[in-house]
Assembly symmetry: D2
Homo-oligomer: 188 residues x 4
Amino acid sequence: MARLLICYSTGTGTTEVFAKAVAEGAASVDGVNVSLKNANDIIPEDLATIDGVILGSPVHMGSMDWQMKKVIDGPFAMMWIQKGLVGKVGAVFTSGSGIGQVGAGAEGAMIAMLANLAELGMIIVPFPSSAPGYHTNGLHWGPSAITSESKDGRPLGVPDEQQIAARSHGANVARVTAELAGKRLLDP
Amino acid sequence: MARLLICYSTGTGTTEVFAKAVAEGAASVDGVNVSLKNANDIIPEDLATIDGVILGSPVHMGSMDWQMKKVIDGPFAMMWIQKGLVGKVGAVFTSGSGIGQVGAGAEGAMIAMLANLAELGMIIVPFPSSAPGYHTNGLHWGPSAITSESKDGRPLGVPDEQQIAARSHGANVARVTAELAGKRLLDP
Amino acid sequence: MARLLICYSTGTGTTEVFAKAVAEGAASVDGVNVSLKNANDIIPEDLATIDGVILGSPVHMGSMDWQMKKVIDGPFAMMWIQKGLVGKVGAVFTSGSGIGQVGAGAEGAMIAMLANLAELGMIIVPFPSSAPGYHTNGLHWGPSAITSESKDGRPLGVPDEQQIAARSHGANVARVTAELAGKRLLDP
Amino acid sequence: MARLLICYSTGTGTTEVFAKAVAEGAASVDGVNVSLKNANDIIPEDLATIDGVILGSPVHMGSMDWQMKKVIDGPFAMMWIQKGLVGKVGAVFTSGSGIGQVGAGAEGAMIAMLANLAELGMIIVPFPSSAPGYHTNGLHWGPSAITSESKDGRPLGVPDEQQIAARSHGANVARVTAELAGKRLLDP
């Protein structure tokens, strides 16, 4: 059974809802054990036996939020030293306001998270334009939730339509994780 | 009189329309002489006496188009050797399809063009979220036209509403260019 | 037999030498047919039946050179329309001057090429810090040749020591290509 | 008197040494009041009256460290809401190990910090290749210290030669800050 971890940070709860949809999509794939965990709760042991990881963060000031970066600088950096995730599978997603209608920094946030996965030597799964949900929530590096608020500033969650992209991304990454688990293809 | 060049590439003509709106905004500022030129027509002499430049390109496969890169690798790279644009003013804009609703690679295209401006030692003007038009066509690095097509695939141009962002960006860059023209603030 | 294409652009010939070392490394892996081709010579048919591609470019003004971008905007963009490379394998390398000792724009050039691979829906192989040659020519996104010149400006090629990184990257990508060839893991 | 803040984070102390050299360079410019502060100690009031800011961080896993991101997501994000730094001056620097000899992620770390400055609407000063010190510690986005260690893993600080780049960058940014202080050129 391949093990896939979805590690997310969340402010208002929107990214968590999107992360759950990613996890649902991943869990729909045979042969993959999926776990979902808030970045704040990750401990080094969580990373010791995984075959793949998906990182998801809100977009803050054009990059991932500091809570995600803190877990990267901690437990993930420890795995860099140990070379423990080389050749395993990685992917990303974000959640953002959509202000400006040009991505609002989602690309920068994704690239910063992908840099961590590349540093770890992980094989990266992008988000193909052929994927279900790409049309409404798609960037080539990964899907992104587009948040909205009620008039009094209350987050309105992630509409069902948006969760399609999250599910198809989760399933794609899970399939690659299942396929590559246990194989040592990089620097064997 | 400060001199500001708007250098654009264009496929279907959309980026050219947006570039003209950038030029209009720039020309509304006192003390600035604005020229607008297709990247294919740029010669080294065009860059010899400018005080600022705005680069604009369609987004193709997540970066600027090859025609813009060709003028960067040619006339602009010659200015890099001569250190001729150090301390002058630079900025960018793009035009893209909007597929996916998460920027469609506009950020990557802008950063690639900004890398050229930074290599040249140019002072970079971003696109503030307080700028008119940001709400519909704004990314922090610059504005982006969002193209649409008729049902038979004919480009529908850039609606008036979108041109607001282009004009306010042009005016911002022109003001900074007028202010800094003739001053040698970097590596004096 | 999996098919892996190494597509490079070159100015002084340095990137070509590095590309040949990438190809050598790839060819050392069983079950992979490796072809090496200058970007200028790529035709759409070259991309029709490949299982993986490695793109390599000199770093010019902080990004890939225009010749590489031209083949991306042409034959590769045609594959984007056809969704013909979704789920296949991609990777990158660069060649640069090393001026400044901080990468000289290799990272920006690699990310711009990787954006194309991600747009195509390709699974991306990074360059792990555990790879032979990483210590002298390694960036997490891929290896980079560091060029040097004789006192009269003649390019001095790529020393043997640098080619280690190219070979280990080629072999890594070839192994993943052989493993994934013919499997439709993304958007099946 | 224009006010310029240098805000740095530091792990082993190397980035702090480099930050002090940046501050020295800035303080050599007439008409500029320079303050130097650890990111952990920044309070919103520190940002209320500044005319420019330089952010400096170690490179961790291909981006800035989490402590720098935390101050960006806190006090800086508050200024984004207030539009309080629009049109002011910003710049960046990093400190990294140099492993691999291709920048080791400094470019990604700088772009992530620059994204914050662009979101704030700040005018960005790059690091021209004509600047003193560029040859040993220069990237177009900013200078970077290259750290080294003794054989027992003790950080060896930043050699004098490397501090040249830091000083020239500090002076460049200070000159632009002095020139633009009090002028409202963007979205007036």
